[in-house]
């Protein structure tokens, strides 16, 4: 029962965080500075979430670094999202195999 209360509180807090700005902010912003700010937010958010966390994402800095470089190169050549994401993982996996084979 206690667990149910925790889960309800967690869900409610998380929902309100998303719902309040999404539902009550209906105006198109006029100021070009604020519009620019909001335009840049997605890139800034995704960048800060990725770096440096990506280097801890596989449990091994070397395999993660190889995966990161793979993703950066393929993204630079504008390959599809799914190709970039899976290639990053595949290259990290293969690097892991090589490392465990060599050691």
């Amino acid at each position: 029962m206690k667990t149910a209360i925790y889960i309800i509180v967690m869900a409610a807090v998380t929902y309100l965080i998303r719902m309040i700005p999404f539902t009550f902010f209906k105006k198109k912003i006029k100021s070009r500075y604020i519009r620019s700010f909001l335009k840049y937010i997605p890139y800034a958010v995704l960048s800060a979430m990725t770096i440096p966390a990506i280097l801890d994402s596989t449990g091994n800095t070397i395999t993660a670094a190889v995966g990161t470089i793979t993703a950066l190169v393929l993204a630079f050549f504008e390959l599809p999202l799914i190709v970039v994401a899976l290639s990053a993982s595949l290259s990290a996996f293969l690097t892991g195999l090589i490392i465990s084979y060599c050691s």
């Binding site: 925790y6 967690m10 700010f37 890139y43 958010v45 793979t70 990053a88 990290a92």
Partner: protein, 207 residues
């Protein structure tokens, strides 16, 4: 993880389905496990998940007029890192149908993933599951690199945000949730001051 904390599989599925977060879920399970207070639960969830407010605010600017209040009330449940990433990368206005589609696909994957993971423990060998940890970040890179290549403004914002993120990680012990907020607000503010765009069309044709 959820099962490690001695939660039932049903509770793990409920947390996953009702929260639709990653870090938030993990921290929540820790608090339940440690029998923490409700206040603690509220503060931790706020800290970790407050970035969703920023994402929600950013998405409001590209919502189709079809997004009436009931749609907003419903779709806001699905604002996660991945869904925000996909919706932001989508050119043009966001319709409710599009957003529900993205949410549905992700949510099914998410909840079945947590449930299966909880039921069977480690299904995948450790080498495969650890390599999968990078997939989400690979997706983020795929979203930010092409526009950063074409627009100097985006490049500067992306690099600035990454730089602040690294500095905060190295020099402070600020939680991950707040780090993202600080980096994003600082870098986007700098971008807005340095490169205020008149509108999207103009920005897209700019270098």
């Amino acid at each position: 993880m959820a099962v490690g904390a001695k939660l039932s599989i049903f509770a793990a599925a409920m947390i996953s389905a009702s929260n639709l977060t990653s870090a938030g879920q993990a921290a929540g399970v820790e608090i339940i496990k440690a029998a923490g207070t409700i206040i603690e639960m509220i503060l931790v969830q706020l800290t970790i998940n407050i970035r969703y407010s920023l994402m929600a605010l950013s998405l409001t600017q590209k919502l189709d007029p079809k997004f009436t209040t009931p749609h907003r009330l419903l779709a806001s449940y699905g604002i996660t890192d991945e869904i925000f990433a996909v919706c932001s990368a989508q050119p043009g206005l966001l319709t409710p149908a599009y957003m529900y589609g993205v949410i549905l696909v992700s949510a099914i994957g998410w909840v079945t993933g947590t449930t299966l993971g909880a039921a069977a423990g480690e299904i995948l060998p450790a080498s495969v599951s650890s390599a999968m940890g990078i997939v989400l970040y690979g997706m983020f890179i795929a979203i930010i690199v092409p526009p950063a290549k074409k627009q100097k403004s985006v490049l500067v914002v992306v690099l600035l945000s990454a730089m602040i993120s690294v500095l905060l990680k190295l020099l402070t012990s600020i939680s991950g949730g707040f780090t993202v907020i600080i980096c994003a607000v600082a870098a986007a503010l700098a971008g807005a001051v340095l490169f205020p765009a008149d509108d999207d069309e103009e920005e897209e044709t700019a270098e």
